[in-house]
């Protein structure tokens, strides 16, 4: 029976051949690297290099955003790019669209049904928690809706509750120890679909927002501010933690903020609905204020 990968290659080939899109962004297998990497296919006959299986961990949404900001993709006449997305990547694409960094007609979303990626017996936390085996937004969908999906556990949420249980001093030293490893390479920022500013305040030359020192407490300030800037917009795709060369558990922070926002303002998940409003730029007169 035809696998999703075959359908994907066929779809990509026809899209390129018919000129509906000028590029299909998907995964390709790198033998030497033993990893699936993002690959921009522009010629129809190269469509056969596209793969789809559980090795396709990288989220392609940030590459769509950054690719559009390169000089090579500057065009006056409208161009359309297809992107292959699993559930969490689709939320990343919705994030980029909702932050108005791309027009809806610039993107053709090819959704694939995903049962989880990475190492089968040690799935990443986001897959064990995943409720979007079918991408929430797509133009084309490959693969059928899974009949029964195992009930998603929530390892990350439990970890967050566990950390919340510690007393303040333990939490402070836990994070200080993690943040002392941070090199400020900004991989977490560059792979984040919600971090789509043209110039980040941490790169600003004009305004002295913070200092560019990598002491433990200035790294804490960087991560606290970044977590706040994406608060309510983070789609929990887990890319920041995957990209961090120093293995800092960033998803624990994002999960904490996401669960707080869901609890405080009872808003739906980020990046699911194309008409969603980021919760921190809206208000309800009836919002509770526990802190006063």
């Amino acid at each position: 029976m035809t696998t999703i990968q075959d359908e994907l290659r066929e779809t990509a080939r026809t899209l390129l051949a018919e000129g509906q899109v000028d590029c299909v962004l998907g995964w390709a297998w790198e033998e030497e690297l033993q990893r699936a990497v993002p690959c921009f296919v522009r010629a129809a006959e190269d469509a056969k290099r596209l793969i789809w299986d559980e090795r396709c961990v990288v989220s392609l949404a940030p590459f769509l955003l950054h690719m559009k900001r390169q000089l090579s993709s500057v065009r006056t006449e409208p161009s359309r790019t297809a992107i292959v997305v699993k559930g969490c990547d689709a939320r990343g694409v919705v994030r980029i669209l909702r932050d108005q960094q791309l027009e809806r007609d610039e993107v053709l979303i090819i959704g694939v049904v995903c049962q989880g990626v990475g190492d089968p017996d040690n799935r990443p936390a986001k897959c064990r928690e995943c409720q979007y085996h079918v991408p929430p937004v797509y133009d084309l969908l490959l693969g059928e809706e899974p009949k029964e999906t195992q009930t998603p556990s929530s390892p990350l949420l439990e970890r967050v509750r566990e950390i919340e249980g510690w007393d303040v001093a333990d939490r402070a030293s836990y994070w200080r120890e993690h943040f002392s490893r941070c090199l400020r390479c900004y991989a977490c920022r560059q792979v984040c679909p919600a971090c789509n500013c043209v110039e980040c305040i941490f790169d600003s030359e004009r305004t002295r927002w913070t200092y560019k020192r990598t002491t433990a407490e200035e790294n804490m300030i960087f991560h606290a501010i970044r977590a706040f800037h994406v608060a309510g917009r983070c789609v929990e795709c887990g890319e920041c933690e995957r990209a961090c060369p120093m293995g800092i558990p960033l998803m624990e922070i994002n999960k904490k903020v996401a669960s707080d926002i869901k609890e405080l303002f009872s808003v739906p998940d980020a990046g699911v609905d194309l008409r969603e409003e980021p919760p921190l730029v809206r208000y309800e007169t009836g919002d509770l204020d526990h802190f006063v």
Partner: protein, 657 residues
């Protein structure tokens, strides 16, 4: 290096009393960026300001820090001072050494150390100040006056007389407000309608005044010079263009309901005018009680109306008025006597409020001016007036004095002499407050001519005995308990803010105090302004006051409105948001949080890689922007900034902590 001038004020002894100003100046001189520092006794005085001007010129300072009282007091003054010597007025920061330092700390060393730190913060901020400029906006030369009492009437007339169009909005059927319910007014005892009615007629007839009665303000937005007031004109069910005001319909209307105007002592019909001399003197139908609207029967008024003016099909209409300034004159309510269970207010029919008593003695009142007991209609032989009911009472009532009760109780005592000359009058009081012009003499006449017996002491309890009412009280002057049997008790209930005053203030965006009276911008310097430019206050909605003060305040508010309308254009706020178009990503989080809709978008063209590329960025309408800075906080990349409170300025202050 930027050249900062620091001017530390003694404010007489207000600051110098607790803060060692010389030490503050010495510390300021040690800051590298400070080119000149001095202290003077009164910086805000002409001498003080001259010293600043001279120092700016001789030491060619490019920015100034004044360490004195709160910026809310003299920021505008000092901006003019430095502008007069060529500096941009916004190259100024104020360190609040008085209200937030010398007045609130007693330890001299700690206060001085804090003062030095506050000056450091101000200097750190001023280093990042940038010249700001105002732009201009056209002024809509129409005023909206909300509330048709004496305050609203006076303000409307003054503005109209100055040649500007006014829309006067009144919630009830007729203008006149509380004053129309009064019989006589103190201290001259001239009849209330005699001085009020001509004004009401003037308003009704004035070509420049559009009168909108039976209407309520729903929403106000915009800003000074460009307000948009949404008003809901409730359906009157009477076509006032046809109605001649003959009164036939009111005559024939079968439905009787308690009349708000009569304070519960009288009744009115379903189709009614508030009182005979109402303006407009054309009735409205109270749809909550009119039989036609309740169960579809009746319709007598339509039958009897020769002018065929009755129109049941009328619906509420929403009107939007563009106005350059607004005067709020929404008046007051009276304290609910029922809160004093021990007085039996609202339970014993013969315990009435001062307003109800006013209706009794009023010729157009339910008893045509005769003082009669609501219970059995007899003329009361002895009447007891009790003052400070609700006022000056932390526990059950309000802590403040309502200013008018002493005078209107004295007046009512004198009127008892006219209407029921052989009735005996007792007045229970704590203090007598008669501070106005001719007030004290009026109070003495109440004692001598009216023969009122003033008993100093609070009444403890009132209870009925047979047809009489028994008062237990204590005469604190002679220290004796006394029991008094009277026929009628009049409670001088205090003035409280209108019910719904808070919602209205939130609608207008103006602030209100702990007792829900609207807050003036500054009690002494700007008593009729509110914190929203272009919205002014008149009358008791700002706090208890008598008619002379109300009228004075109304005229003051009118002059403020006219001063706005005297200019062709208005200077806009200089401290507005600005966009750095190089780093704006066009995510428009700013637009989502902007309260005044000041943020729009525009397309930027750029020549990139040999092609004309476009991208969308935010723009700010500096006329509409009020400088709240909410957008600057919502903008992740810091592209959005606010003049006067820019990211750099605030970060500079934090840096100098």
């Amino acid at each position: 290096m930027k050249r900062v001038g620091v001017f530390v004020c003694h404010c007489g002894s207000n600051i110098a009393g607790t803060v060692d100003c010389a030490a503050v100046v010495a510390a300021a001189r040690r800051i590298p960026a400070v080119a000149y520092a001095e202290d003077n006794k009164y910086t805000c005085s002409e001498v003080g300001q001259e010293q600043i001007r001279k120092a700016v010129q001789t030491h060619n300072l490019d920015r100034v820090v004044v360490a004195a009282c709160s910026p809310r007091m003299h920021e505008a003054t000092f901006r003019k001072t430095i502008a007069s010597v060529g500096l941009n007025p916004y190259m100024l920061e104020i360190a609040n050494l008085r209200e937030q330092c010398s007045w609130v700390h007693s330890d001299r060393q700690a206060a001085t150390a804090k003062a030095i730190d506050l000056v450091r913060l101000a200097v750190a901020k001023v280093l990042y100040n940038k010249p700001l400029f105002t732009s201009t906006l056209p002024v809509k030369k129409r005023a909206v006056v909300i509330g048709g009492g004496i305050a609203g009437i006076q303000a409307a007339l003054d503005i109209a007389e100055a040649g500007h169009p006014v829309t006067l909005i009144e919630r009830s059927q007729s203008i006149g407000g509380r004053m129309a319910q009064l019989d006589k007014t103190f201290p001259t005892l001239d009849c209330s309608s005699c001085i009020l009615m001509p004004r009401m007629v003037d308003v009704g007839a004035h070509p420049m005044i559009d009168l909108m009665t039976y209407s309520e303000v729903e929403e106000v937005d915009g800003f000074i010079g460009n307000f948009r007031v949404k008003v809901r004109q409730r359906a009157k069910s009477v076509d006032h263009s046809k109605c001649t005001g003959c009164g036939e319909c009111t005559e024939k209307c079968p439905t009787q309901v308690p009349a708000e105007f009569e304070a519960g002592l009288g009744e009115r019909k379903a189709i009614y005018t508030d009182f005979p001399q109402a303006v407009p003197n054309k009735p409205v139908i109270d749809r909550d009680h009119c039989r036609y609207f309740l169960d579809g029967k009746c319709g007598i008024c339509r039958k009897v109306c020769q002018a065929d003016a009755i129109d049941y099909t009328q619906t509420d209409r929403q009107v939007e008025i563009e106005a350059g300034a607004i005067v709020v004159a929404t008046g007051f309510d009276l304290f609910d006597p029922a809160k004093y269970g021990e007085y039996g207010g609202g339970r014993y029919p013969d315990v009435i409020t001062g307003l109800q008593f006013e209706r009794l003695i009023s010729a157009s009142g339910p008893t045509n001016g005769e003082i009669r007991r609501p219970s059995d209609g007899r003329v009361p032989e002895t009447i007891a007036f009790i003052k400070c009911v609700g006022s000056r009472d932390e526990a059950h009532g309000v802590p403040y004095c309502s200013r008018v009760c002493c005078m209107y109780t004295a007046k009512q005592a004198m009127l008892v002499k006219e209407h029921a000359k052989d009735s005996k009058v007792y007045i229970f009081y704590i203090d007598v407050r008669a501070a106005g012009k001719g007030y004290e003499e009026f109070y003495q006449r109440a004692q001598t001519d009216a023969g009122a017996t003033y008993v100093r002491g609070r009444v403890a309890k009132i209870f009925p005995r047979g047809e009489k009412l028994v008062l237990w009280a204590e005469d604190t002057l002679i220290g004796k308990q006394l029991e008094l049997e009277v026929d009628l008790v009049v409670l001088a209930t205090g003035i409280v803010a209108r019910e719904g005053a808070v919602e209205f203030a939130q609608k207008m965006g103006i602030s209100y105090d702990g007792h829900r009276f609207y807050s003036e911008a500054h009690p002494k310097l700007r008593p009729v302004d509110t914190n929203v430019d272009g919205i002014f206050l008149a009358g008791a909605c700002q706090g208890p006051k008598d008619i002379p003060d109300t009228v004075a305040q109304a005229s003051a508010a009118a002059v403020k409105v006219c001063s706005i309308f005297s200019k062709e254009e208005l200077e806009t706020n200089a401290m507005v948001a600005t966009v750095d178009e190089n780093i704006c990503a066009g995510c428009f989080h700013c637009r989502a949080v902007c309260p005044s809709g000041a943020i729009d978008s525009k397309i930027l063209h750029a020549w990139v890689a040999g092609q004309d590329v476009t991208r969308r960025v935010a723009t700010v309408n500096s006329g509409v922007c009020q400088g709240c800075g909410s957008c600057a906080a919502a903008c992740p990349s810091g592209a959005m900034n606010v003049g006067g409170f820019s990211n750099e300025q605030i970060l500079g202050e934090v840096e100098a902590l």
